[in-house]
Symmetry: C2
Subunit: 96 residues, 2 copies
């Protein structure tokens, strides 16, 4: 893999599968796998963003899904929302 963007995209795929393959459907995150992913991968980042509510909102949305399974596309949406929120925080910081 070459560029920084390719590495980032490859990283998303690797992270998802490293947690989703632990139990049940190996291509979907169970609630336990999702919780482990958020705790294992996003604790520092959320602290840096100073907006812990972002994940709580997403978690409560995910709770409405009764099968409690998150596929890769839903995971990418979650990551997108978090990344856009953190980019806004980053740009805000540059403008202050």
């Amino acid at each position: 893999m070459g560029s920084k963007l390719e590495s980032a995209m490859e990283g998303l795929i690797q992270v998802f599968h490293s947690y989703s393959s632990k139990e049940g459907d190996k291509y979907k995150l169970s609630k336990v796998e999702l919780k482990n992913l958020l705790q294992g991968e996003l604790s520092d980042f959320l602290a840096a963003c100073k907006d812990p509510m972002v994940v709580e909102k997403i978690m409560s949305d995910l709770d409405e899904n009764k099968d409690g399974e998150v596929d890769f596309q839903e995971f990418v949406i979650l990551v997108s929302v978090l990344t856009v929120a953190c980019n806004e925080f980053f740009v805000q910081g540059l403008n202050e």
Copy 2:
């Protein structure tokens, strides 16, 4: 920055700004900046995905936007679509 997921998210923000800051609005990609980003960051990845049409479809969608500007949120959507497509290719490969 700690985890692999955090690095991936940070990478997306860094890549966008490294291209968007070149000319005009430094928080948006002009058409030239977008083209440079796609050529500079995604050429190998697209070859690996063996689906060059993905970007062509997105480019033609972006052409409909008359100001020719892509903000970070639109960029993340573009990356999400590409990453989901490449994940499907990856999973398909595992199942064959």
